[in-house]
Point group: C2
Chain length 288, copies 2
């Protein structure tokens, strides 16, 4: 449960901490980044809420901490941001590093049930249980009763599914270019086949945002941004319209805001542009 600080970097009036801990769910050391806003680094006795940012395929927690500009808005609002890694690392599973969209860097925020991936590809349990427990144990200035979640691409899928599977756990959810209906796109099919098996259709649906939203009860205030110039959107990997359609059919789409952003691509340039909006969306729920 102990967390090692490998670097402390001043950023936007707060501190970005590079951290490492031994995780039992993933069976390896896990690195992550934590941005502490200025409100959490002073001697103030009030705790700050926490936004989890889940990264996309091929990324670690570093990419968005460097290029996403979440620290800008988080510093102003007094929100801590956690950037976890996207998979276990170095488990020495055969084929682990063969694809950019499966194995290392591509944990898809599920608990794999299929061998050999079940050995440590448990990013669902890691992000929802072990990481928060570790985090709140190590940083008493963080408020465990106020968590929100957001993410990009595969991490947008993670944000939506973790939020929808755990009503009440997160105060809010938003997503950038999420893989919103993985059971119907090549990325999701490859991942779910690998981590669950071809014959586990029920399991697949349990990690598909467009399926999960059908069971949602109550208000659903979601902010989703997708660029119209996003090649993965054009290739049918994201399918945000399927998610919105499912929310509509379930009668919970009133506050589901899908914003198609003209010309924006899938990159961190896109996220940096709208990061302040997603921080504001989280702040509305975390600070109310």
């Amino acid at each position: 449960m102990s967390v090692e600080t490998t670097a402390t970097i001043a950023s936007f009036g707060g501190k970005l901490l590079k951290l490492k801990h031994k995780a039992s769910t993933t069976n390896c050391d896990m690195a992550f980044n934590l941005f502490l806003p200025p409100q959490a680094t002073t001697s103030s006795s009030s705790k700050v809420p926490v936004l989890f940012y889940l990264s996309g395929l091929t990324c670690t927690g570093d990419n968005c901490a460097e290029k996403g500009f979440f620290q800008h808005g988080a510093s102003q609002k007094g929100i801590a941001v956690v950037y976890p890694d996207t998979s276990p690392r170095g488990l020495q599973i055969q084929g682990e590093d063969d694809s950019y969209d499966f194995g290392s860097g591509a944990g898809f925020y599920v608990d794999a049930t299929r061998d050999p991936w079940s050995k440590g590809y448990k990013m669902y349990s890691y992000v929802t249980e072990e990481l928060p427990k570790t985090l709140f144990g190590a940083f008493p200035q963080l408020d465990s009763s106020r968590m929100s979640i957001t993410g990009h691409s595969m991490g947008g899928h993670g944000a939506l599914t973790l939020f929808l599977k755990n009503p009440g756990k997160y105060k809010s959810c938003s997503a950038f270019a999420p893989i919103a209906n993985p059971i119907n796109c090549p990325w999701g099919q490859k991942a779910f086949k690998g981590y669950f098996g071809d014959d586990q259709q029920q399991k697949w649906k349990e990690h598909d945002a467009a399926e999960l939203v059908k069971q949602w009860k109550g208000p659903l205030d979601l902010l989703i941004d997708v660029g119209t110039g996003d090649n993965f959107y054009k290739q049918g990997q994201l399918l945000p319209e399927n998610f919105v359609k499912a929310a509509k059919e379930a009668g919970v789409d009133k506050d589901v805001k899908l914003r198609m952003q003209p010309d924006y691509d899938h990159s961190y340039y896109f996220m940096a542009t709208f990061a302040d909006d997603h921080i504001a969306h989280a702040a509305k729920h975390l600070l109310s």
Copy 2:
């Protein structure tokens, strides 16, 4: 003189263009980035001013465009930002790629006089003459009468020296962690020895901000940020105090603002934090 657009990326309401042109000063193809704010991409007939951002050792024009957060403020103010490369590339001069602080990625914004570097290491002429000429020829929405300059580390040295050597050319200047007195630090001494020769002390002084400021006449409104946690500052590579002392002795220090930022390091995290301030500094002069 023709400029090839290799990519167009939506960013903060404007466009980041990745550009390439054949440069005669540097004797090779030169890549650079141009951020056009929304004000320059509409059919508006008014031209927008331009801020040149000069990068530090090892960087290209890409690093700051991705991680510096200048687009945030530039978009709000309506300022275009140009991110040139830091040296010629691929001239096949022996030893060109041997050091991180000399040759490729380390042009130091001077015109080398010593063989073989004089073959193309002419970043002073490139940035002050050829690049602006190319740029304003290709982009009529940019206002050639309103240019400012800023930069980081070696690029901070570039910004200060290009500004001080060309009174009136740039409306304003600022710098992040600049090499402010290169003739008295290891980086500067290595570069000037290589590009000019050991026996060219007068030439060295002509590219040293702390020397040039002694000749400055009139107001000198400079914003300089340096982090107290910057290892290169601690190692004596930057020497900003020498610059301020020289400005004071010359009686032009009234508006020279050296801000020592507690705990900040030499990284883009530092620059991203204060980018808005430097854009505001430029805007004060460009938009008045």
